[in-house]
């Protein structure tokens, strides 16, 4: 391998293809490792098993790739996903055949729904045994077909290198997504060719990145004449790294910006144009602005049902412009006047350049009145920890600079509402699939990717227990993430819906009887752990936690158990029919 690397170095920056005659013969496992090194993969989240032993044998001597031994393949996939969201680089997973592969399914589906670039390598039984119900055999290509952007079964070891290169290309280009490569064991042991050629030949795969000129002009014309324009920005602005372009445009044109859950951080919430998040638990002013606006510019967003509420009541007075790199997102849920297929990073500045600053003075008066009269409510108490207060304190103590990773439910919505997001790649959450158990392992992945940034996992007592075993990994690798459990002894969002829509019949949503002592649980792994039952203790615990840099910290925050998350657009209601909160 060293010999090869030396050769590559001699050839300079490697954009020149290696001569075909320099093709090397090695076994499949070596081809895999060489190709990953060549693709500058620095971290793999994996778990060994029979079918991938040849790869693990090569990893034993490989020092350029850090292999992180996770404790369950689902968590490993979430970790790779968190790594990808925090760094912008593809996350890489390596698991064995059968159960190794099937355990990754939830993680792959999570990544697919949020367009996260992952490359998942699964072992497979030897080619000759496929279909025989061999030990640890599962048709993982078949199982993951609907939840991957593309997947491969390698049938010839000579295809291995270019399949791997293609897999990374597909995962990271266009609308990103997970790609799975299934590797029969004999492919890993058989000798094949490794060329080192970087060229990828996929003549039929050409994502559109440049927007159509005349559509861009139409968009600019609409925005120039708008009286009540609004930018609605989604995860695409982060995946497409268009946050600077977005911020520049919104500030220059003085157009308000609301972001989706996935778009948080693409536009700094400290700017006066920010309206925070829209949708089911969005701010009053974001939802009202969406309903009242006359031109809506959707940037890398997909009009998800949690964003739109009842479709016929969604932004009924606006002309809509939709920029998306995936044509199938356009016109899927909502008809738009100006569809623009392209990369938001290319398209936004072009629209910006052609747009004359619209007169939004009256519009801002209306919006500012909404902001004044209907701010997000933060209940505070001296005796009990209010969940919203908990998020505000975390925001304060991390100065809004942390990578915040959440699970799914009430704490997720409160984190989205009350943490002050000013940077992209700083809010990692399973938006589309809504995967409980995502938060902690994804936070760990983010910490591997961004060792210099503080990483806070905000989770619940329900979600944390789904992947709590990864404490072993976090302790082993000395990952200093802060895990803040919003412990209300129940599945908060389920409980909230049961309270509001099921006559307070709390069917199977109360976890109190079975919940562990989270402090003892964490300590048994060797993690630091604290508990707080009132706001004063909470502050002390947060201060202490921030000082710890050599292991994970679990903070068990006993919060008010019956707090509901508002504003809330009930299922089937329009955005302006939101409920603002309990009467005190």
């Amino acid at each position: 391998m060293n010999h090869l690397k030396a050769q590559r170095l001699e050839q300079g920056t490697n954009d020149q293809p290696v001569e075909a005659s320099e093709t090397h013969v090695m076994n499949g496992a070596e081809i895999l490792i060489n190709t990953l090194e060549d693709l500058q993969v620095d971290t793999i989240f994996g778990y060994p098993g029979g079918a991938v032993l040849p790869i693990y044998d090569k990893l034993f001597d490989c020092h350029d790739i850090r292999h992180v031994l996770i404790r369950h393949e689902q968590a490993g996939t979430h970790a790779a996903d968190g790594y990808a969201r925090a760094t912008g680089k593809p996350g890489v997973v390596l698991v064995t055949s059968g159960p190794g592969g099937t355990n990754t399914v939830t993680g792959i589906a999570t990544a697919a729904m949020d367009s996260i670039p992952l490359v998942v390598f699964t072992g497979q039984v030897p080619s000759g045994l496929i279909g025989n119900d061999a030990f640890q055999e599962a048709d993982i290509v078949g199982i993951t077909r609907p939840i991957t952007k593309h997947n491969y079964l390698v049938k010839d070891v000579d295809d291995l290198e270019h399949v791997i290169r293609e897999a990374f290309h597909v995962a990271t280009s266009g609308r990103p997504g997970p790609v799975l490569v299934d590797l029969p064991k004999d492919m890993l042991n058989t000798e094949g060719r490794y060329s080192g050629l970087k060229k990828i030949s996929m003549p039929n795969y050409n994502p559109v990145t440049q927007g159509h000129k005349s559509q861009i002009q139409k968009a600019a014309d609409l925005l120039s004449k708008a009286k009540k324009p609004l930018i609605y920005s989604g995860g695409g602005a982060i995946l497409g790294e268009a946050w600077e372009e977005l911020t520049a445009m919104a500030e220059r044109l003085n157009i308000p910006v609301t972001t989706t859950l996935m778009g948080l951080g693409a536009f700094p919430e400290s700017k006066k144009q920010s309206l925070g998040m829209l949708g089911m638990h969005g701010t009053y002013y974001a939802n009202m602005a969406t309903t009242e606006c006359d031109v809506l510019l959707a940037v890398g967003a997909r009009f998800d049902d949690r964003v739109t509420g009842r479709l016929d009541g969604f932004s009924p007075h606006s002309k809509k412009i939709h920029i998306d790199i995936d044509p199938s997102n356009i016109g899927k849920n909502v008809e738009v006047e100006v569809p623009i297929v392209g990369d938001v990073k290319n398209v936004l500045p072009q629209i910006d350049e052609l747009t004359e600053k619209p007169d939004t003075e009256e519009w801002w008066k209306t919006i500012n009145k909404w902001k004044e009269e209907h701010p997000l409510k933060v209940a505070k108490s001296d005796d009990t920890i209010k969940p919203q207060h908990m998020i505000e304190e975390i925001s304060r103590i991390t100065k809004g600079e942390a990578v915040v990773v959440t699970d799914v439910g009430q704490h997720q919505m409160w984190a989205a509402q009350h943490y002050n997001f000013n940077h992209p790649r700083s809010f990692l959450s399973s938006g589309g699939l809504g995967t409980m158990g995502y938060g902690f392992p994804a936070a760990m992945g983010a910490a591997f990717g961004c060792p210099d940034r503080p990483v806070v996992c905000i989770t619940g007592d329900g979600g944390f227990q789904m992947t709590a075993y990864e404490l072993a990994t976090a302790v082993e690798y000395q990952i200093p993430i802060k895990i803040a459990i919003m412990n209300n002894n129940c599945l908060g969002m389920v409980r909230q819906w049961q309270e509001l829509f099921y006559d307070k019949r709390y069917s199977h949503s109360i976890l109190k009887k079975g919940n562990p002592d989270f402090v003892k649980l964490a300590e048994s792994y060797g993690a630091a752990a604290f508990r707080a039952t009132n706001p004063k203790e909470m502050n002390e615990v947060l201060e202490k936690a921030m000082e710890i840099n050599d292991r994970p910290v679990v903070m068990d925050f006993k919060v008010e158990e019956h707090e509901n998350c508002y504003p809330m657009v009930p299922s089937g209601a329009a955005l302006d029919e939101m409920v603002e909160g309990d009467e005190e």
């Binding site: 078949g142 077909r145 609907p146 997947n151 039929n204 995936d326 199938s328």
Partner: protein
């Protein structure tokens, strides 16, 4: 197909898609999976090697409103192995389906069955004392009509290829 008041068949929401795709079963599964997974309909599907080696041409007939057809086309285009999707419905195109129909034909009914077959330019390809197997080719409507005409005699088996279609090269008025 929805019969309308004047007895004609409403075909406006029928679409014939011609999909050129890399020849592998994973690709075929993905294409079918789009339909089953996203709730789209397939009326018929046929799959075979295309004009270039390594490529297959899949002809799918489906139905749905404009919005659904647009989503189907876009979703198919997203599949990495798909080279090209053509909705032939918007073009002049030729389509054919082949069906083999095994129908009861005793000495008393055989002549009548064969006469009907002749009207449809269908061919008898197998014969036994009790049954005839008949090959009929045409567009979907013609094949449907032929099968309808055979029904009173007693059909025991039908095998249909599904529609195959190509864009017409010359569509000017003669």
């Amino acid at each position: 197909m929805i019969p309308t008041d004047n007895g004609q068949t409403k075909t406006a929401n029928k679409h014939t898609l011609s999909v050129l795709v890399n020849y592998n079963l994973n690709a075929l599964s993905r294409i079918i999976g789009i339909f089953s997974g996203k709730g789209f309909e397939i009326d018929s599907v046929s799959f075979g090697p295309g004009e270039e080696s390594g490529l297959a041409r899949i002809t799918i007939t489906t139905h749905g409103d404009e919005h659904i057809i647009e989503q189907i086309t876009k979703q198919l285009n997203k599949i990495i192995d798909v080279v090209k999707v053509n909705d032939l419905t918007y073009d002049h195109f030729v389509e054919r389906e082949l069906a083999l129909v095994k129908v009861a034909a005793t000495a008393s009914s055989r002549t009548e069955v064969m006469q009907v077959a002749q009207v449809f330019r269908a061919k008898v390809i197998d014969i036994s004392p009790e049954k005839l197997s008949i090959e009929v080719t045409g567009n979907r409507d013609k094949v449907d009509a032929f099968i309808g005409m055979m029904e009173p005699f007693g059909i025991s088996q039908v095998a249909r290829t599904g529609t195959v279609a190509l864009k017409r090269e010359y569509s000017g008025s003669v």
